[in-house]
């Protein structure tokens, strides 16, 4: 994603032991140079990671009609990446880009992958649309405010992680 999503994702990853959670694979929107730079900085001392650039399912402000086509295009182009790249754990935090990625991992690695959705700290009263779409399919959905977990059954508040 860009901006807030990337910043939050890197905050989540920072305390993790990268010798245990290794190797790491990143999926970044191909037009998102900001995120690529942040992530290269984050991983500057490491060599056990890979980066895939994926087409955006939808640009900000794009019409919903043309979004159908860009979504289809991204679904088609992402499939071979997912096919090639088996993972044990998939962490997503909400940019539209993550929907096709989750979709294909659910299909291709059905029982063999844990998908964890982490909702943004900015979502205080309601879940994001991406979360609504994905939450019935992922292994766990984490929210950042206890009242959200109370409001939406099936979501979990484990404490302050962001």
């Amino acid at each position: 994603g860009s901006g807030g999503h990337t910043t939050e994702m890197l905050k989540l990853l920072k305390p993790l032991d990268r010798d245990i959670f290794s190797p790491r694979v990143y999926f970044v929107a191909e037009t998102d140079n900001f995120s690529v730079a942040k992530l290269k900085h984050f991983e500057q001392d490491r060599s056990d990671f890979l980066l895939y650039k994926v087409p955006r399912a939808r640009e900000v402000g794009q019409s919903y009609l043309t979004s159908v086509f860009t979504l289809l295009k991204s679904m088609i182009l992402i499939l071979p990446m997912v096919y090639k790249q088996k993972v044990d754990l998939l962490l997503v935090n909400g940019p539209g880009t993550c929907v096709p990625i989750c979709f294909w991992y659910m299909i291709l690695q059905r029982m063999m992958v844990k998908i964890i959705y982490v909702e943004s700290i900015c979502r205080v009263k309601t879940l994001s649309s991406t979360c609504h779409i994905l939450r019935r399919f992922v292994s766990a959905t984490l929210v950042q405010w206890p009242e959200l977990a109370e409001k939406y059954s099936g979501t979990v508040y484990i404490g302050k992680i962001l």
Binding site: G3, G4, P15, L16, S139, K160
Partner: protein
């Protein structure tokens, strides 16, 4: 509006406001989520200002929540003066740091790693 007696430095854009925020005793800002978190993580006093017409807008949900929890002061253009007049650097709630093991333990549990 009267003539401003306050010494001001004005600029269009800086790549990072980190230094200015670190030097500040008080930050008065818009209610963007990123800014709120950045300032609170630096443990600075923060007053956020929003347009009256934006009240209840989901974009300021986080700022509203942080104000409710006592981490910052929330003002509109009409209330800003009185908020600043009565602002004390009182013992505000400090924004807690994340628990560094929580997420890791959760993931390890999910993956059934010891």
């Amino acid at each position: 509006m009267g003539a401003c007696q306050l010494p001001c430095t004005v600029y269009d854009y800086k790549p990072s406001l980190q230094q200015d925020m670190e030097d500040a005793d008080l930050v008065i800002s818009h209610a963007g989520a990123g800014t709120c978190l950045e300032v609170l993580e630096l443990k600075k006093d923060l007053v956020v200002v929003v347009n009256d017409s934006l009240m209840g807008n989901h974009q300021i949900e986080l700022a509203e929540k942080l104000a409710e929890e006592g981490y910052l002061e929330f003002a509109t253009l009409s209330t800003l003066q009185s908020i600043l007049d009565s602002f004390h650097s009182k013992e505000r709630q400090r924004f807690p740091k994340p628990d560094s093991n929580l997420f890791s333990n959760f993931l390890r549990q999910q993956l059934k790693l010891t």
